[in-house]
């Protein structure tokens, strides 16, 4: 991209931000109880606009911004719901070693990713995969617990492993 084209793009972005950031923040504050989160997501939205490869001038800026923001709000709520459920369930178990806050945070990030990567698989498939890879349970055990055949467990494993380890490598089975 030439220097002038870059400068023009930069200008467009600044105009977009100046014209619509305040409005977007208001829009988000209506949908999120926490002000800090609304501010974070507003910044996130504009960051995505900046890094998108959209070259043409955006026709309907507010509609465009709301599409992106809506997706971010949905992921935010999904993330919170995962965190609540995970930490709540974790609190029911005894702590043999109290993990550091950083470890907890990383575990939550991993959970959010696993949720995204395994989305679409049946709950049984997710369960088979996690019991095998995290707890090291043999397939015979898992099959008995899920009430399915060992062959089904292998199929669940193949589908989940493909998505979890090789999401970027194309076709999934």
């Amino acid at each position: 991209m030439s220097a002038t084209a870059k400068a023009a793009e930069g200008q467009h972005f600044h105009q977009l931000y100046r014209a619509h950031h305040g409005w977007l923040l208001g829009w988000l504050r209506h949908r999120l109880p926490c002000r800090d989160t609304a501010e974070d997501l507003a910044q996130d939205t504009f960051l995505r606009v900046l890094t998108a490869r959209e070259r043409e001038t955006i026709e309907e800026p507010r509609a465009f911004l709301t599409v992106i923001a809506q997706r971010l709000v949905a992921s935010h709520y999904r993330r919170r719901s995962l965190e609540h459920a995970y930490l709540d369930a974790l609190a029911q178990l005894p702590e043999t070693v109290a993990p550091s806050p950083e470890t907890r945070l990383l575990a939550l990030e991993t959970l959010v990713e696993v949720d995204r990567l395994l989305d679409g698989l049946s709950f049984r498939a997710k369960k088979a995969f996690l019991l095998a890879r995290i707890d090291g349970r043999p397939y015979a055990d898992i099959a008995a617990e899920l009430g399915v055949s060992v062959i089904s467990v292998k199929k669940y494993m193949a589908a989940a492993a493909q998505r979890c380890y090789f999401a970027a490598s194309g076709e999934d089975r």
Partner: protein, 322 residues
């Protein structure tokens, strides 16, 4: 959860092979012949090795998760998450948790005579009139027989106000580290996992650590700790000890110490940054509304309460405003 060592995704064909290896190797107990084949596949070319490193990198992240809570969180079925966890525990999941945990206190939670959830406090009056106060996250079994009155403190903290017994049976509280024998009294016992802390409000108690042959007497107005090996010398009790029975937590020391205590009453994570942990704090805070307690902290100290969710809260320094 990107793990490509050099950025380019592995080719679909190699990915498929690696997946097939994951599936075979996870099936059951280790198999020497299978593993030898797998090692040969890895060594056969650089892309195979790269694919396997990717599996390992992501596995390292997966190991940070606890499977039962993760599954409860990922559940999209109509079952409530609590039901799901209870099911996981009741069926094969229980055995797995035992392998991971090694601590059987959680088992007792489901069969115990009395237990409280995190943040819950309750008073239970026993058959002889003894008052048993349970603090947050506590599990107690009651074993009254014709010979003796025994409480088994499996987990957590209790206050006991003993009642005189028409049958004059001896009373004791059994913990993982030893026995606490009251001499007609009001006292608190707190299982802190690596030791048991005892506070005496009225009367006196005798501590009998499991492995040591010595009995330590703790009198009213004193506190001490003991583990299997022995007991500390009793010292004056901390002001505000046992105030949880009245629904409050008393801060007399540092913010860090207070937050560590308050964390017992909230599920999830509540922590305090090093930078502000030494700030002095005093006051009385409600245990029924820990969020209000946290807001009060932010109002009285130069700190900020960062809430990423109800289940993840951290106290840190208030950012400077330019």
């Amino acid at each position: 959860m990107r793990a490509d060592i050099d950025g380019t995704p592995v080719s679909p064909d190699v990915a498929r092979q690696a997946v097939a290896w994951v599936v075979e190797l996870s099936a059951g107990p280790p198999d020497a012949a299978l593993e030898a084949d797998w090692r040969r596949w890895r060594a056969a070319n650089a892309e195979h090795e790269r694919a396997w490193r990717q599996v390992e990198a992501i596995d390292a992240r997966l190991q940070g998760l606890s499977s039962a809570p993760a599954l409860a969180a990922l559940s999209t079925s109509a079952l409530s998450r609590r039901q799901l966890l209870a099911m996981l525990v009741a069926t094969g999941g229980a055995a797995t948790l035992l392998w991971q945990g090694g601590d059987k206190a959680w088992l007792h939670r489901f069969k115990a005579d009395h237990h409280t959830a995190v943040g819950e406090r309750r008073l239970q009056v026993l058959a002889d009139g003894t008052q048993l106060h349970l603090n947050t996250d506590t599990v107690v079994d009651v074993a009254y027989t014709s010979q003796a009155r025994v409480l088994h403190l499996r987990r957590g903290e209790i206050r006991v106000d003993t009642a005189p017994d028409p049958l004059s049976r001896p009373f004791s509280v059994v913990t993982a580290h030893g026995r606490v024998r009251p001499v007609g009294t009001r006292f608190l016992v707190h299982d802190q996992r690596w030791a048991v802390a005892v506070v005496v409000l009225e009367g006196a108690v005798d501590l009998q650590p499991e492995g040591a042959d010595v009995t330590t007497r703790v009198a009213a107005g004193q506190q001490a700790r003991f583990d299997r090996g022995g007991a500390t010398v009793p010292e004056a009790l901390r002001p505000g000890a046992g105030a949880w029975v009245d629904g409050v937590l008393v801060a007399t020391d540092t913010l860090g110490a207070f937050v560590a205590e308050l964390a017992r009453y909230r599920p999830g994570h509540l922590g305090c940054d090093e930078a502000v942990a030494d700030l002095r704090l005093s006051g009385v805070f409600p245990l029924d509304d820990t969020d209000a307690a946290l807001d009060t902290l932010a109002a009285t100290l130069p700190v900020r309460v960062r809430r990423r969710s109800r289940y993840w809260v951290r106290i840190g320094a208030r950012p400077d405003t330019a």
